[in-house]
């Protein structure tokens, strides 16, 4: 994590410029340059039953907040300021949005392991595997597989990307766009999603998944291989996005 002095200097002047101008493109560039810090901190929280991809997303959110709140005039190093912000976001994730239902450790572990099993089987079979097939390969019972599938939904969903609701005009969370799922289809998605401000309030990758699943009719496995993530992760993101859409639809319908 050691920065060259020139890098540090460059970062500082960018932060100063951002503080002065509020230029969102610049903010995204700064976030992009600090992804390593977010990932590093996210990894310190692994092995606690949460998939690392989710933790990195949370950490990126913390990073984004740090960039926005950083006050260069106070003379602090950015990393000194950002680290507690990101760690705080991760801790809050575990406290508020972690396993809302107590999920036994072995089920959490099976849930994480199933990602690989489902992917491997899908490739071998050329189709989505049945539940007994998954159970046999994972050497567990059908009931355990069902429990583990359900475990992916054991999050409390409501405010995982709270900044989007705190600050509606910010638009899709740029931090998650840094995760490298660039896709030529993305622009087309953006076009279509303009039709739905609700969907546009989700992170880009989630928008993409919603679009592919519900507007294009692709299966979860197809989406998983297209985006290069596990099917279990697609499943989690779908569930979470839908819960968020509902929350927001509800919030919009509410008076005031």
């Amino acid at each position: 994590m050691a920065f060259e002095a020139t890098d540090r200097h460059e970062l500082r002047s960018k932060l100063e410029e951002y503080a002065a101008t509020g230029d969102k493109a610049l903010r995204d560039e700064i976030v992009g340059s600090q992804v390593g810090l977010a990932e590093y901190l996210a990894r310190r929280f692994k092995n606690r039953g949460e998939p690392i991809e989710d933790l990195i997303q949370v950490a990126l959110l913390g990073l984004l907040k740090a960039v926005e709140r950083f006050d260069p005039s106070r003379g602090l190093e950015f990393s000194t300021f950002a680290t507690p912000t990101i760690v705080g976001e991760l801790k809050r994730h575990f406290r508020d949005k972690g396993w809302a239902v107590r999920v036994p450790r072995r089920v959490q572990e099976l849930h994480l392991r199933m990602g690989t099993v489902v992917n491997t089987l899908s490739q071998e079979l050329g189709r989505s595997p049945t539940i007994p097939e998954i159970a046999r390969r994972a050497e567990v019972s059908v009931d355990e597989v069902l429990e583990a599938m359900e475990a992916g939904r054991a999050y409390r969903f409501s405010s995982i990307d709270a900044p989007a609701t705190e600050d509606e005009d910010r638009g899709p969370n740029p931090a998650t766009a840094q995760l490298g799922e660039d896709d030529t289809g993305l622009e087309e998605v953006e076009q279509r999603m303009l039709l739905s401000p609700l969907i546009a309030s989700l992170p880009k990758r989630e928008q993409m998944i919603i679009h592919l699943r519900f507007f294009r009719g692709m299966t979860q496995s197809e989406i998983a291989s297209r985006l290069g993530i596990s099917q279990m992760h697609v499943s989690r993101l779908l569930a979470r996005s839908l819960a968020q859409l509902r929350d927001r639809a509800g919030a919009e319908a509410a008076p005031g």
Binding site: V101, L125, T130, L146, S196, S235
Partner: protein, 142 residues
């Protein structure tokens, strides 16, 4: 093709699968887990694939959401239970759910319709005399 090489019970040759299952739970989000788990359990007995089971779970969740009512209901307005019936055919599962609701029948959003169209073969939400009912049907692919 590896896919043809299955044992019979992977594809639902389960004689006990053809009975209805009934579930009655408090109309609260905490119980949706049971509702989904039951759907997933039955679908897996019928040989649904992982993808299909996932779709079914999302669809049930989406439809049950209409039965929960909005969070602004006063406690006395809140529906007390959701009654679900899961019926298993040879290659399909159909689920109905209903609950008492004093207010207007929730109108599924366009987005919700779009989502359900992609997930299941048939779905509807109807209201009648203070009872809201949803129905869905999902067919196994092959």
């Amino acid at each position: 093709m590896a896919g043809e090489n299955q044992e019979p019970n992977d594809r639902g040759e389960d004689p006990a699968a053809n009975g209805d299952v009934r579930l009655s739970v408090p109309a609260a989000p905490e119980y949706l887990r049971l509702v989904r788990l039951t759907a997933a359990g039955l679908a897996s007995r019928l040989g649904f694939t992982f993808d299909e089971v996932e779709d079914l779970r999302i669809a049930v969740d989406e439809l049950c959401f209409h039965l929960l009512g909005d969070g602004d209901d006063t406690p006395s307005d809140r529906p007390r239970t959701m009654d679900l019936t899961y019926a298993a055919g040879a290659d399909y599962i159909s689920i109905t759910g209903s609950t008492g609701m004093s207010g207007a029948v929730p109108e599924p959003s366009e987005l919700s319709e779009q989502i359900l169209d992609a997930l299941v073969d048939e779905h509807e939400v109807t209201g009648n005399g203070g009872v809201v009912t949803f129905r869905l049907k999902k067919q196994r692919e092959s």
